[in-house]
Protein backbone atom coordinates (compact mmCIF):
# COMPACT_ATOMS: atom_id res chain seq x y z
CA UNK A 1 0.00 0.00 0.00
CA UNK A 2 1.07 3.57 -0.57
CA UNK A 3 2.96 5.25 2.21
CA UNK A 4 1.39 8.03 4.22
CA UNK A 5 3.85 10.62 2.92
CA UNK A 6 2.85 9.70 -0.63
CA UNK A 7 -0.81 10.18 0.08
CA UNK A 8 -0.13 13.33 2.05
CA UNK A 9 2.02 14.76 -0.72
CA UNK A 10 -0.68 14.45 -3.37
CA UNK A 11 -3.09 16.46 -1.28
CA UNK A 12 -0.57 19.24 -0.81
CA UNK A 13 -1.95 21.40 -3.62
CA UNK A 14 -5.62 20.59 -3.04
CA UNK A 15 -7.63 23.64 -2.13
CA UNK A 16 -9.93 21.71 0.22
CA UNK A 17 -8.78 20.67 3.69
CA UNK A 18 -7.65 17.04 3.90
CA UNK A 19 -6.72 15.19 7.11
CA UNK A 20 -5.42 11.63 7.24
CA UNK A 21 -6.17 9.90 10.50
CA UNK A 22 -4.77 6.65 11.77
CA UNK A 23 -7.48 4.05 12.37
CA UNK A 24 -5.98 3.24 15.81
CA UNK A 25 -7.37 4.26 19.20
CA UNK A 26 -7.93 8.02 19.78
CA UNK A 27 -7.62 8.61 16.03
CA UNK A 28 -4.28 10.47 15.83
CA UNK A 29 -3.75 12.74 12.82
CA UNK A 30 -0.92 11.55 10.58
CA UNK A 31 -1.07 14.11 7.78
CA UNK A 32 -2.71 17.49 7.13
CA UNK A 33 -2.46 19.53 3.95
CA UNK A 34 -1.91 23.32 3.96
CA UNK A 35 -5.63 23.93 3.33
CA UNK A 36 -6.43 21.92 6.46
CA UNK A 37 -3.91 23.91 8.51
CA UNK A 38 -5.39 27.12 7.19
CA UNK A 39 -8.91 26.00 7.98
CA UNK A 40 -8.09 24.89 11.51
CA UNK A 41 -5.66 27.77 12.05
CA UNK A 42 -2.97 25.43 13.35
CA UNK A 43 0.49 24.54 12.04
CA UNK A 44 0.98 21.11 10.50
CA UNK A 45 3.61 20.10 13.10
CA UNK A 46 1.13 20.79 15.91
CA UNK A 47 -1.68 18.88 14.21
CA UNK A 48 0.29 15.72 13.50
CA UNK A 49 0.15 13.11 16.28
CA UNK A 50 -2.62 14.91 18.13
CA UNK A 51 -5.92 13.11 18.43
CA UNK A 52 -8.62 14.41 16.15
CA UNK A 53 -11.09 13.89 19.00
CA UNK A 54 -9.30 15.08 22.10
CA UNK A 55 -6.37 17.20 20.84
CA UNK A 56 -6.10 20.97 21.40
CA UNK A 57 -7.63 21.66 17.98
CA UNK A 58 -11.29 20.86 18.46
CA UNK A 59 -12.23 19.40 15.10
CA UNK A 60 -15.68 18.39 16.28
CA UNK A 61 -16.34 22.06 17.11
CA UNK A 62 -14.89 23.19 13.79
CA UNK A 63 -17.20 20.78 12.01
CA UNK A 64 -20.15 21.80 14.11
CA UNK A 65 -20.82 18.29 15.44
CA UNK A 66 -20.47 16.81 18.91
CA UNK A 67 -17.48 14.63 19.93
CA UNK A 68 -19.80 11.67 20.30
CA UNK A 69 -21.18 12.18 16.82
CA UNK A 70 -17.69 12.33 15.31
CA UNK A 71 -16.64 9.15 17.16
CA UNK A 72 -19.79 7.44 15.93
CA UNK A 73 -19.01 8.42 12.34
CA UNK A 74 -15.47 7.05 12.55
CA UNK A 75 -16.70 3.83 14.14
CA UNK A 76 -19.26 3.46 11.38
CA UNK A 77 -16.64 3.84 8.62
CA UNK A 78 -14.37 1.38 10.43
CA UNK A 79 -17.03 -1.27 10.77
CA UNK A 80 -18.75 -0.87 7.39
CA UNK A 81 -15.55 -0.01 5.48
CA UNK A 82 -17.70 2.40 3.51
CA UNK A 83 -17.23 6.12 2.93
CA UNK A 84 -19.59 8.64 4.48
CA UNK A 85 -20.66 11.94 3.00
CA UNK A 86 -22.71 14.33 5.06
CA UNK A 87 -23.75 17.93 5.11
CA UNK A 88 -22.66 19.92 8.14
CA UNK A 89 -23.25 23.45 9.28
CA UNK A 90 -19.88 24.82 10.25
CA UNK A 91 -19.97 27.45 12.99
CA UNK A 92 -18.59 30.90 12.12
CA UNK A 93 -14.83 31.04 12.52
CA UNK A 94 -12.66 33.79 13.81
CA UNK A 95 -8.99 34.43 13.43
CA UNK A 96 -8.23 32.43 10.31
CA UNK A 97 -8.05 33.12 6.63
CA UNK A 98 -11.09 31.14 5.57
CA UNK A 99 -14.24 33.12 4.90
CA UNK A 100 -17.09 32.77 7.34
CA UNK A 101 -18.85 29.53 6.80
CA UNK A 102 -21.98 29.88 4.78
CA UNK A 103 -24.76 27.28 4.82
CA UNK A 104 -24.04 23.67 4.14
CA UNK A 105 -20.48 22.43 3.90
CA UNK A 106 -19.77 18.80 3.18
CA UNK A 107 -17.63 16.35 5.12
CA UNK A 108 -16.42 13.16 3.53
CA UNK A 109 -14.76 10.35 5.44
CA UNK A 110 -13.04 7.67 3.32
CA UNK A 111 -11.53 4.43 4.60
CA UNK A 112 -8.09 3.46 3.27
CA UNK A 113 -8.13 -0.30 3.35
CA UNK A 114 -5.06 -2.48 3.60
CA UNK A 115 -5.23 -6.26 3.59
CA UNK A 116 -8.93 -6.23 4.37
CA UNK A 117 -8.66 -3.84 7.32
CA UNK A 118 -9.10 -0.08 7.54
CA UNK A 119 -5.64 1.39 8.05
CA UNK A 120 -6.40 5.10 7.72
CA UNK A 121 -9.33 7.42 7.47
CA UNK A 122 -9.27 10.43 5.16
CA UNK A 123 -11.35 13.37 6.29
CA UNK A 124 -12.10 15.87 3.54
CA UNK A 125 -14.00 19.10 4.09
CA UNK A 126 -15.64 20.77 1.13
CA UNK A 127 -16.16 24.26 2.44
CA UNK A 128 -19.37 25.93 1.38
CA UNK A 129 -17.74 28.69 -0.61
CA UNK A 130 -15.88 26.31 -2.89
CA UNK A 131 -17.70 24.83 -5.82
CA UNK A 132 -18.66 21.31 -5.04
CA UNK A 133 -21.11 18.64 -5.96
CA UNK A 134 -24.03 18.10 -3.62
CA UNK A 135 -23.77 14.89 -1.65
CA UNK A 136 -25.81 12.06 -3.15
CA UNK A 137 -28.02 11.72 -0.13
CA UNK A 138 -28.17 13.67 3.09
CA UNK A 139 -26.56 11.73 5.90
CA UNK A 140 -24.81 8.39 5.86
CA UNK A 141 -24.91 8.13 2.10
CA UNK A 142 -22.89 5.08 1.35
CA UNK A 143 -20.45 4.49 -1.47
CA UNK A 144 -19.54 0.93 -2.39
CA UNK A 145 -16.31 -0.17 -0.65
CA UNK A 146 -13.19 0.43 -2.63
CA UNK A 147 -9.79 -1.09 -2.19
CA UNK A 148 -7.13 1.48 -1.34
CA UNK A 149 -5.63 1.93 -4.78
CA UNK A 150 -9.06 2.31 -6.30
CA UNK A 151 -10.33 4.76 -3.74
CA UNK A 152 -7.15 6.79 -4.02
CA UNK A 153 -7.61 6.78 -7.79
CA UNK A 154 -11.06 8.30 -7.35
CA UNK A 155 -9.66 10.98 -5.07
CA UNK A 156 -6.71 11.67 -7.35
CA UNK A 157 -8.93 12.01 -10.40
CA UNK A 158 -10.92 14.68 -8.60
CA UNK A 159 -7.82 16.85 -8.15
CA UNK A 160 -6.99 19.56 -10.68
CA UNK A 161 -3.26 18.99 -10.33
CA UNK A 162 -1.40 16.36 -12.28
CA UNK A 163 -0.43 13.37 -10.11
CA UNK A 164 1.80 10.53 -11.28
CA UNK A 165 3.49 7.54 -9.71
CA UNK A 166 6.65 6.14 -11.24
CA UNK A 167 8.24 2.75 -10.61
CA UNK A 168 11.97 2.55 -11.10
CA UNK A 169 13.10 -0.59 -12.90
CA UNK A 170 16.80 0.14 -13.16
CA UNK A 171 18.69 3.34 -12.65
CA UNK A 172 17.51 4.72 -15.96
CA UNK A 173 14.21 2.97 -16.58
CA UNK A 174 11.29 4.87 -15.13
CA UNK A 175 7.79 3.54 -15.77
CA UNK A 176 4.48 5.29 -15.13
CA UNK A 177 2.37 3.05 -12.86
CA UNK A 178 -0.34 5.60 -12.23
CA UNK A 179 -1.42 8.97 -13.59
CA UNK A 180 -4.63 10.83 -12.79
CA UNK A 181 -7.14 12.37 -15.15
CA UNK A 182 -5.53 15.82 -14.84
CA UNK A 183 -2.44 14.33 -16.51
CA UNK A 184 -4.51 13.61 -19.61
CA UNK A 185 -6.17 17.04 -19.57
CA UNK A 186 -2.86 18.86 -19.21
CA UNK A 187 -0.68 16.88 -21.63
CA UNK A 188 -3.19 15.43 -24.08
CA UNK A 189 -1.85 11.87 -23.58
CA UNK A 190 -4.63 9.36 -22.76
CA UNK A 191 -4.28 7.90 -19.28
CA UNK A 192 -4.40 4.28 -20.52
CA UNK A 193 -1.55 4.97 -22.95
CA UNK A 194 0.63 6.52 -20.25
CA UNK A 195 0.17 3.91 -17.55
CA UNK A 196 2.65 1.15 -18.25
CA UNK A 197 4.74 3.34 -20.58
CA UNK A 198 8.28 4.39 -19.83
CA UNK A 199 8.89 8.06 -19.09
CA UNK A 200 11.14 8.40 -22.16
CA UNK A 201 8.27 7.22 -24.36
CA UNK A 202 6.00 10.02 -23.13
CA UNK A 203 8.01 13.10 -22.13
CA UNK A 204 9.57 14.89 -25.13
CA UNK A 205 13.09 16.27 -25.26
CA UNK A 206 14.53 18.63 -24.13
CA UNK A 207 12.40 18.21 -21.00
CA UNK A 208 13.19 14.48 -20.81
CA UNK A 209 16.89 14.91 -20.04
CA UNK A 210 16.16 17.38 -17.28
CA UNK A 211 13.31 15.33 -15.83
CA UNK A 212 15.39 12.13 -15.64
CA UNK A 213 18.19 14.05 -13.97
CA UNK A 214 15.75 15.37 -11.36
CA UNK A 215 14.36 11.86 -10.72
CA UNK A 216 17.87 10.56 -10.07
CA UNK A 217 18.56 13.55 -7.84
CA UNK A 218 15.43 12.81 -5.76
CA UNK A 219 16.54 9.18 -5.39
CA UNK A 220 20.16 9.85 -4.48
CA UNK A 221 19.43 12.78 -2.19
CA UNK A 222 16.44 10.92 -0.71
CA UNK A 223 14.59 14.22 -0.72
CA UNK A 224 11.76 15.97 -2.44
CA UNK A 225 12.94 17.79 -5.59
CA UNK A 226 11.03 20.49 -7.44
CA UNK A 227 11.57 22.45 -10.62
CA UNK A 228 9.84 24.38 -13.35
CA UNK A 229 9.64 23.04 -16.89
CA UNK A 230 8.27 23.97 -20.29
CA UNK A 231 7.28 21.06 -22.55
CA UNK A 232 5.61 20.54 -25.89
CA UNK A 233 2.69 18.15 -25.48
CA UNK A 234 -0.15 17.13 -27.79
CA UNK A 235 -2.27 19.58 -25.78
CA UNK A 236 0.17 22.43 -26.53
CA UNK A 237 3.12 24.07 -24.82
CA UNK A 238 2.76 23.77 -21.06
CA UNK A 239 4.65 25.33 -18.20
CA UNK A 240 4.47 23.41 -14.94
CA UNK A 241 5.88 23.45 -11.45
CA UNK A 242 6.86 19.85 -10.82
CA UNK A 243 7.47 18.25 -7.45
CA UNK A 244 8.78 14.71 -7.07
CA UNK A 245 8.94 12.82 -3.81
CA UNK A 246 10.86 9.55 -3.41
CA UNK A 247 9.12 6.93 -1.31
CA UNK A 248 10.98 4.45 0.90
CA UNK A 249 9.78 1.43 2.86
CA UNK A 250 10.26 0.93 6.59
CA UNK A 251 13.76 -0.49 6.01
CA UNK A 252 14.72 2.62 4.02
CA UNK A 253 14.70 0.82 0.70
CA UNK A 254 13.78 2.88 -2.23
CA UNK A 255 10.29 2.08 -3.58
CA UNK A 256 8.95 4.55 -6.12
CA UNK A 257 8.51 8.21 -7.04
CA UNK A 258 5.33 10.20 -6.55
CA UNK A 259 5.08 13.40 -8.55
CA UNK A 260 2.77 16.34 -8.85
CA UNK A 261 2.56 19.03 -11.49
CA UNK A 262 0.99 22.38 -10.92
CA UNK A 263 0.06 23.68 -14.38
CA UNK A 264 1.09 27.36 -14.53
CA UNK A 265 0.88 27.75 -18.32
CA UNK A 266 -1.81 30.42 -18.20
CA UNK A 267 0.02 32.39 -15.55
CA UNK A 268 3.25 32.22 -17.56
CA UNK A 269 1.48 33.30 -20.76
CA UNK A 270 -0.11 36.21 -18.93
CA UNK A 271 3.28 37.16 -17.52
CA UNK A 272 4.91 37.04 -20.96
CA UNK A 273 2.14 39.16 -22.43
CA UNK A 274 2.48 41.65 -19.61
CA UNK A 275 6.21 41.81 -20.16
CA UNK A 276 5.76 42.50 -23.88
CA UNK A 277 3.26 45.25 -23.11
CA UNK A 278 5.57 46.77 -20.54
CA UNK A 279 8.48 46.72 -22.96
CA UNK A 280 6.33 48.31 -25.66
CA UNK A 281 5.21 51.02 -23.30
CA UNK A 282 8.74 51.57 -22.09
CA UNK A 283 9.95 51.94 -25.67
CA UNK A 284 7.16 54.38 -26.50
CA UNK A 285 7.95 56.36 -23.42
CA UNK A 286 11.62 56.48 -24.34
CA UNK A 287 10.73 57.57 -27.87
CA UNK A 288 8.53 60.35 -26.54
CA UNK A 289 11.17 61.53 -24.09
CA UNK A 290 13.74 61.57 -26.83
CA UNK A 291 11.36 63.38 -29.13
CA UNK A 292 10.76 66.06 -26.53
CA UNK A 293 14.47 66.41 -25.93
CA UNK A 294 15.34 66.66 -29.59
CA UNK A 295 12.59 69.13 -30.33
CA UNK A 296 13.53 71.39 -27.45
CA UNK A 297 17.17 71.17 -28.41
CA UNK A 298 16.51 71.95 -32.04
CA UNK A 299 14.12 74.77 -31.25
CA UNK A 300 16.69 76.22 -28.92
CA UNK A 301 19.39 76.58 -31.60
CA UNK A 302 17.59 79.00 -33.98
CA UNK A 303 15.99 80.67 -30.98
CA UNK A 304 19.40 81.39 -29.42
CA UNK A 305 20.53 82.86 -32.73
CA UNK A 306 17.44 85.03 -32.96
CA UNK A 307 17.94 86.23 -29.41
CA UNK A 308 21.59 87.14 -30.00
CA UNK A 309 20.90 88.90 -33.30
CA UNK A 310 18.06 90.94 -31.83
CA UNK A 311 20.25 92.07 -28.90
CA UNK A 312 22.84 93.49 -31.29
CA UNK A 313 20.37 95.11 -33.68
CA UNK A 314 19.64 98.40 -31.81
CA UNK A 315 23.31 99.37 -32.05
CA UNK A 316 23.65 98.90 -35.80
CA UNK A 317 22.81 101.67 -38.15
CA UNK A 318 20.02 100.65 -40.53
CA UNK A 319 21.48 101.84 -43.80
CA UNK A 320 24.53 99.56 -43.68
CA UNK A 321 25.36 96.22 -45.30
CA UNK A 322 25.92 94.81 -41.81
CA UNK A 323 22.34 95.69 -40.87
CA UNK A 324 21.10 93.87 -43.99
CA UNK A 325 23.17 90.86 -42.98
CA UNK A 326 21.58 90.83 -39.53
CA UNK A 327 18.11 91.05 -41.02
CA UNK A 328 18.76 88.22 -43.45
CA UNK A 329 20.12 86.00 -40.63
CA UNK A 330 17.11 86.87 -38.52
CA UNK A 331 14.74 85.85 -41.29
CA UNK A 332 16.61 82.55 -41.77
CA UNK A 333 16.54 81.81 -38.02
CA UNK A 334 12.85 82.54 -37.62
CA UNK A 335 12.03 80.48 -40.72
CA UNK A 336 13.98 77.61 -39.20
CA UNK A 337 11.89 77.88 -36.05
CA UNK A 338 8.77 77.75 -38.18
CA UNK A 339 10.02 74.68 -40.05
CA UNK A 340 10.73 72.83 -36.82
CA UNK A 341 7.27 73.60 -35.48
CA UNK A 342 5.78 72.32 -38.72
CA UNK A 343 7.86 69.14 -38.42
CA UNK A 344 6.61 68.63 -34.89
CA UNK A 345 3.06 69.03 -36.08
CA UNK A 346 3.57 66.53 -38.91
CA UNK A 347 5.20 63.94 -36.64
CA UNK A 348 2.54 64.27 -33.98
CA UNK A 349 -0.21 63.90 -36.56
CA UNK A 350 1.32 60.61 -37.79
CA UNK A 351 1.60 59.33 -34.25
CA UNK A 352 -1.95 60.43 -33.53
CA UNK A 353 -3.28 58.34 -36.36
CA UNK A 354 -1.11 55.36 -35.47
CA UNK A 355 -3.92 53.56 -33.69
CA UNK A 356 -6.76 54.57 -35.90
CA UNK A 357 -7.64 51.66 -38.12
CA UNK A 358 -7.67 53.39 -41.48
CA UNK A 359 -5.93 50.68 -43.48
CA UNK A 360 -6.38 49.55 -47.03
CA UNK A 361 -4.85 46.77 -49.10
CA UNK A 362 -2.08 48.34 -51.11
CA UNK A 363 -0.24 46.73 -54.02
CA UNK A 364 3.28 47.67 -53.00
CA UNK A 365 4.82 47.59 -56.46
CA UNK A 366 2.37 50.32 -57.60
CA UNK A 367 3.48 52.59 -54.77
CA UNK A 368 7.15 52.10 -55.68
CA UNK A 369 6.42 52.79 -59.34
CA UNK A 370 4.57 55.96 -58.45
CA UNK A 371 7.41 57.23 -56.25
CA UNK A 372 9.89 56.35 -59.01
CA UNK A 373 7.85 58.26 -61.57
CA UNK A 374 7.57 61.32 -59.34
CA UNK A 375 11.34 61.36 -58.85
CA UNK A 376 12.15 60.57 -62.50
CA UNK A 377 13.58 64.03 -63.16
CA UNK A 378 16.05 63.78 -60.25
CA UNK A 379 17.01 60.22 -61.24
CA UNK A 380 17.64 61.21 -64.86
CA UNK A 381 19.65 64.24 -63.80
CA UNK A 382 22.17 62.08 -61.94
CA UNK A 383 21.97 59.18 -64.41
CA UNK A 384 20.78 56.81 -61.68
CA UNK A 385 19.12 53.43 -62.20
CA UNK A 386 16.20 52.27 -60.07
CA UNK A 387 15.11 48.64 -60.42
CA UNK A 388 11.91 47.47 -58.75
CA UNK A 389 11.54 43.69 -58.46
CA UNK A 390 8.45 43.17 -56.32
CA UNK A 391 5.76 40.66 -57.28
CA UNK A 392 2.39 42.26 -58.04
CA UNK A 393 0.80 40.07 -55.37
CA UNK A 394 2.81 41.68 -52.58
CA UNK A 395 0.01 43.36 -50.66
CA UNK A 396 0.56 45.54 -47.62
CA UNK A 397 -2.23 46.56 -45.28
CA UNK A 398 -1.68 50.15 -44.35
CA UNK A 399 -2.08 53.73 -45.39
CA UNK A 400 -1.29 54.42 -49.06
CA UNK A 401 0.00 57.90 -48.20
CA UNK A 402 2.43 56.52 -45.60
CA UNK A 403 3.71 53.82 -47.94
CA UNK A 404 4.25 56.42 -50.65
CA UNK A 405 6.09 58.67 -48.20
CA UNK A 406 8.34 55.77 -47.13
CA UNK A 407 9.52 54.98 -50.66
CA UNK A 408 9.63 58.60 -51.78
CA UNK A 409 11.89 59.43 -48.84
CA UNK A 410 14.13 56.40 -49.33
CA UNK A 411 14.60 57.07 -53.05
CA UNK A 412 15.29 60.80 -52.60
CA UNK A 413 17.74 59.98 -49.81
CA UNK A 414 19.54 57.53 -52.09
CA UNK A 415 19.78 60.22 -54.76
CA UNK A 416 20.94 62.82 -52.24
CA UNK A 417 23.66 60.64 -50.76
CA UNK A 418 24.87 58.98 -53.96
CA UNK A 419 28.55 58.53 -54.58
CA UNK A 420 30.01 60.77 -57.24
CA UNK A 421 32.53 58.05 -58.15
CA UNK A 422 29.96 55.65 -59.63
CA UNK A 423 26.60 55.56 -61.30
CA UNK A 424 23.80 55.32 -58.74
CA UNK A 425 22.02 51.97 -58.61
CA UNK A 426 18.97 51.41 -56.44
CA UNK A 427 17.32 48.00 -56.06
CA UNK A 428 14.00 47.31 -54.40
CA UNK A 429 13.49 43.57 -53.97
CA UNK A 430 11.62 41.08 -51.80
CA UNK A 431 13.31 38.66 -49.48
CA UNK A 432 11.98 35.61 -47.70
CA UNK A 433 12.79 35.34 -44.02
CA UNK A 434 12.07 32.37 -41.81
CA UNK A 435 10.92 34.41 -38.83
CA UNK A 436 9.23 37.41 -40.31
CA UNK A 437 7.91 36.18 -43.65
CA UNK A 438 8.30 38.47 -46.62
CA UNK A 439 10.61 41.43 -46.31
CA UNK A 440 11.36 44.35 -48.60
CA UNK A 441 14.96 45.20 -49.25
CA UNK A 442 15.95 48.66 -50.44
CA UNK A 443 19.61 48.96 -51.34
CA UNK A 444 21.84 51.53 -53.01
CA UNK A 445 25.52 51.88 -53.90
CA UNK A 446 25.83 55.37 -52.44
CA UNK A 447 28.10 57.04 -49.89
CA UNK A 448 27.01 54.78 -47.03
CA UNK A 449 27.92 55.51 -43.43
CA UNK A 450 29.78 53.92 -40.56
CA UNK A 451 27.09 51.62 -39.22
CA UNK A 452 28.98 50.89 -36.00
CA UNK A 453 29.16 54.54 -35.15
CA UNK A 454 25.70 55.59 -36.22
CA UNK A 455 23.56 52.46 -35.92
CA UNK A 456 21.56 53.89 -33.01
CA UNK A 457 21.36 57.38 -34.47
CA UNK A 458 20.40 56.80 -38.06
CA UNK A 459 16.63 56.95 -37.59
CA UNK A 460 16.74 59.75 -35.05
CA UNK A 461 15.22 63.11 -35.72
CA UNK A 462 17.55 65.88 -36.94
CA UNK A 463 20.59 63.61 -37.13
CA UNK A 464 22.85 63.93 -40.15
CA UNK A 465 25.88 61.88 -40.99
CA UNK A 466 27.41 63.65 -43.92
CA UNK A 467 29.15 66.89 -43.31
CA UNK A 468 28.67 68.22 -46.74
CA UNK A 469 26.95 71.57 -46.92
CA UNK A 470 26.18 71.06 -50.60
CA UNK A 471 23.72 68.32 -49.64
CA UNK A 472 20.52 69.86 -48.40
CA UNK A 473 18.55 68.33 -45.62
CA UNK A 474 17.74 68.67 -41.97
CA UNK A 475 17.74 65.04 -40.87
CA UNK A 476 14.05 64.30 -40.87
CA UNK A 477 13.72 61.90 -43.84
CA UNK A 478 14.71 58.63 -42.19
CA UNK A 479 12.94 59.60 -38.98
CA UNK A 480 9.72 59.99 -40.99
CA UNK A 481 10.36 56.70 -42.80
CA UNK A 482 10.65 54.89 -39.48
CA UNK A 483 7.63 56.69 -38.00
CA UNK A 484 5.52 55.79 -41.05
CA UNK A 485 6.69 52.17 -41.07
CA UNK A 486 5.87 51.81 -37.39
CA UNK A 487 2.54 53.58 -37.78
CA UNK A 488 1.41 50.79 -40.10
CA UNK A 489 2.72 48.10 -37.76
CA UNK A 490 6.05 47.31 -39.45
CA UNK A 491 9.68 47.73 -38.60
CA UNK A 492 12.82 48.83 -40.44
CA UNK A 493 16.49 47.99 -40.06
CA UNK A 494 19.57 49.34 -41.77
CA UNK A 495 22.98 48.06 -42.80
CA UNK A 496 25.59 50.24 -44.39
CA UNK A 497 29.21 50.36 -45.37
CA UNK A 498 31.12 53.55 -45.92
CA UNK A 499 31.63 54.16 -49.64
CA UNK A 500 29.90 50.92 -50.62
CA UNK A 501 26.23 51.56 -50.01
CA UNK A 502 23.25 51.23 -47.71
CA UNK A 503 20.55 48.55 -47.39
CA UNK A 504 17.25 49.03 -45.59
CA UNK A 505 15.19 45.97 -44.69
CA UNK A 506 11.52 46.62 -44.06
CA UNK A 507 9.09 44.18 -42.52
CA UNK A 508 5.48 45.05 -43.25
CA UNK A 509 2.50 43.48 -41.61
CA UNK A 510 1.08 41.57 -44.56
CA UNK A 511 -2.21 40.77 -42.84
CA UNK A 512 -4.70 43.21 -41.46
Amino acid sequence: MLQINEIGAVFAYASSPYLIISAGAAYPIVAANPAACNWSNAEAEKLIHQSILSGPTKFANLLGVSDTKLTQLFDQVLSTQQAITMEVELPPLSGNAMPDNKPASVVEIFPLIDKGKVAYLVLKVLLADTTMPKPVAAENASIPPLETQQSLGVIFDSLANVIFVIEVETNDLFKFSFVNRAFEVTTGFPVNKVIGSYVHEIIPEPSLTMVLEKYREAITRRKQVSWQEVSEYPAGQKTGEVLVEPVFDAQGNYLRLVGMVHDITERKEAEAKQLRLTQDLYQHNRDLQQFTYIVSHNLRAPLANTLGLVRHLPNISPATDLYQQYVSHLITSVEKLDTILKDVNLILSIRDRQNIGHTESVVLVEICQQAKQDLAAELTACGGQLTIAIEPDFIVHGSRAYLYSIFHNLISNAIKYRSLDRVLEINITTLNSAQEGKLIQFSDNGLGFDVHKYEKEVFKLYKRFHHNSTIEGRGIGLFLVKTHVEAIGGNIKVKSELNVGTTFTIHFKTRA
Binding site: Y293, H297, R300, A301, L303, G308, N315, H329, H467
Partner: protein, 127 residues
Protein backbone atom coordinates in the same frame (compact mmCIF):
# COMPACT_ATOMS: atom_id res chain seq x y z
CA UNK B 1 45.42 86.86 -29.48
CA UNK B 2 43.90 84.11 -31.60
CA UNK B 3 40.44 82.59 -31.21
CA UNK B 4 38.94 79.50 -32.89
CA UNK B 5 35.17 79.14 -33.19
CA UNK B 6 34.05 75.60 -34.04
CA UNK B 7 30.35 75.36 -34.96
CA UNK B 8 28.38 73.82 -37.80
CA UNK B 9 25.81 76.65 -37.72
CA UNK B 10 26.90 79.58 -39.87
CA UNK B 11 24.57 82.10 -38.30
CA UNK B 12 25.79 81.13 -34.85
CA UNK B 13 29.40 81.63 -36.00
CA UNK B 14 28.52 85.05 -37.40
CA UNK B 15 26.88 86.01 -34.14
CA UNK B 16 29.67 84.73 -31.87
CA UNK B 17 32.32 86.43 -33.98
CA UNK B 18 30.43 89.74 -33.87
CA UNK B 19 29.85 89.41 -30.12
CA UNK B 20 33.52 88.75 -29.40
CA UNK B 21 34.50 91.81 -31.45
CA UNK B 22 31.94 93.96 -29.63
CA UNK B 23 32.81 92.40 -26.26
CA UNK B 24 36.42 93.55 -26.22
CA UNK B 25 38.33 90.57 -27.53
CA UNK B 26 41.03 92.09 -29.64
CA UNK B 27 41.78 88.96 -31.49
CA UNK B 28 42.16 87.27 -34.81
CA UNK B 29 39.11 85.03 -35.06
CA UNK B 30 39.26 81.90 -37.18
CA UNK B 31 36.05 79.95 -37.73
CA UNK B 32 35.48 76.29 -38.59
CA UNK B 33 32.27 74.63 -39.76
CA UNK B 34 33.52 71.21 -38.69
CA UNK B 35 35.64 69.80 -35.88
CA UNK B 36 37.82 67.90 -38.37
CA UNK B 37 38.91 71.12 -40.06
CA UNK B 38 39.92 72.63 -36.71
CA UNK B 39 41.82 69.47 -35.68
CA UNK B 40 43.71 69.58 -38.96
CA UNK B 41 45.03 73.07 -38.12
CA UNK B 42 45.78 72.15 -34.49
CA UNK B 43 47.82 69.22 -35.68
CA UNK B 44 49.86 70.93 -38.39
CA UNK B 45 49.97 74.70 -37.83
CA UNK B 46 53.17 76.27 -36.46
CA UNK B 47 53.10 77.02 -32.75
CA UNK B 48 52.43 80.74 -33.16
CA UNK B 49 49.29 79.94 -35.15
CA UNK B 50 47.72 77.99 -32.24
CA UNK B 51 44.73 79.72 -30.59
CA UNK B 52 44.45 81.17 -27.08
CA UNK B 53 40.73 80.38 -26.89
CA UNK B 54 38.55 77.77 -28.52
CA UNK B 55 34.75 78.16 -28.50
CA UNK B 56 33.39 74.73 -29.17
CA UNK B 57 29.84 73.66 -30.11
CA UNK B 58 28.69 70.21 -28.94
CA UNK B 59 26.04 69.10 -31.38
CA UNK B 60 27.74 68.67 -34.78
CA UNK B 61 27.52 65.94 -37.43
CA UNK B 62 30.38 63.44 -37.86
CA UNK B 63 32.83 64.60 -35.18
CA UNK B 64 30.85 66.22 -32.36
CA UNK B 65 32.18 68.39 -29.53
CA UNK B 66 32.95 65.48 -27.22
CA UNK B 67 34.85 63.62 -29.91
CA UNK B 68 36.78 66.80 -30.66
CA UNK B 69 37.84 66.91 -26.99
CA UNK B 70 39.06 63.30 -27.16
CA UNK B 71 41.10 64.00 -30.29
CA UNK B 72 42.41 67.21 -28.72
CA UNK B 73 43.59 65.30 -25.65
CA UNK B 74 45.49 62.85 -27.82
CA UNK B 75 47.03 65.69 -29.84
CA UNK B 76 48.21 67.50 -26.73
CA UNK B 77 50.80 64.77 -26.24
CA UNK B 78 52.63 65.87 -29.38
CA UNK B 79 51.59 69.53 -29.73
CA UNK B 80 51.99 72.44 -27.27
CA UNK B 81 48.24 72.89 -26.73
CA UNK B 82 48.37 73.84 -23.04
CA UNK B 83 47.75 77.49 -23.75
CA UNK B 84 44.49 76.80 -25.65
CA UNK B 85 41.57 77.41 -23.30
CA UNK B 86 38.46 75.56 -24.37
CA UNK B 87 34.97 76.93 -23.70
CA UNK B 88 31.87 74.98 -24.61
CA UNK B 89 29.43 77.28 -26.40
CA UNK B 90 26.17 75.50 -27.09
CA UNK B 91 22.43 75.96 -27.36
CA UNK B 92 22.00 72.75 -25.36
CA UNK B 93 20.10 73.06 -22.10
CA UNK B 94 20.75 69.43 -21.26
CA UNK B 95 21.83 69.01 -17.65
CA UNK B 96 23.94 65.96 -18.47
CA UNK B 97 25.88 68.02 -21.07
CA UNK B 98 26.51 70.71 -18.46
CA UNK B 99 27.68 68.20 -15.84
CA UNK B 100 29.85 66.33 -18.30
CA UNK B 101 31.47 69.59 -19.42
CA UNK B 102 32.12 70.74 -15.85
CA UNK B 103 33.81 67.45 -15.05
CA UNK B 104 35.95 67.47 -18.16
CA UNK B 105 39.52 68.53 -17.37
CA UNK B 106 39.99 70.24 -20.73
CA UNK B 107 36.87 72.34 -20.46
CA UNK B 108 37.40 75.78 -18.94
CA UNK B 109 33.75 76.77 -18.92
CA UNK B 110 30.25 76.15 -20.24
CA UNK B 111 28.40 78.97 -21.98
CA UNK B 112 24.81 78.96 -23.23
CA UNK B 113 24.21 80.52 -26.62
CA UNK B 114 23.98 83.33 -27.37
CA UNK B 115 27.18 84.48 -25.65
CA UNK B 116 26.48 87.54 -23.47
CA UNK B 117 28.63 90.51 -22.43
CA UNK B 118 28.73 89.10 -18.91
CA UNK B 119 30.10 85.80 -20.21
CA UNK B 120 32.83 87.58 -22.14
CA UNK B 121 33.72 89.88 -19.27
CA UNK B 122 34.11 86.88 -17.00
CA UNK B 123 36.41 85.13 -19.47
CA UNK B 124 38.58 88.21 -19.92
CA UNK B 125 38.83 88.86 -16.18
CA UNK B 126 39.71 85.26 -15.45
CA UNK B 127 42.49 84.94 -18.00
Amino acid sequence: MKIFIIDDDEISIFLTERSLQLGGFEAEIITFLSAEAALEILQHAPEEELPDFIFLDLNMPEVDGWEFLEAFQQLSGERPLDKCLIYILTSSLNISDINKANEHELVKGFIHKPISFEDMEAILNLN
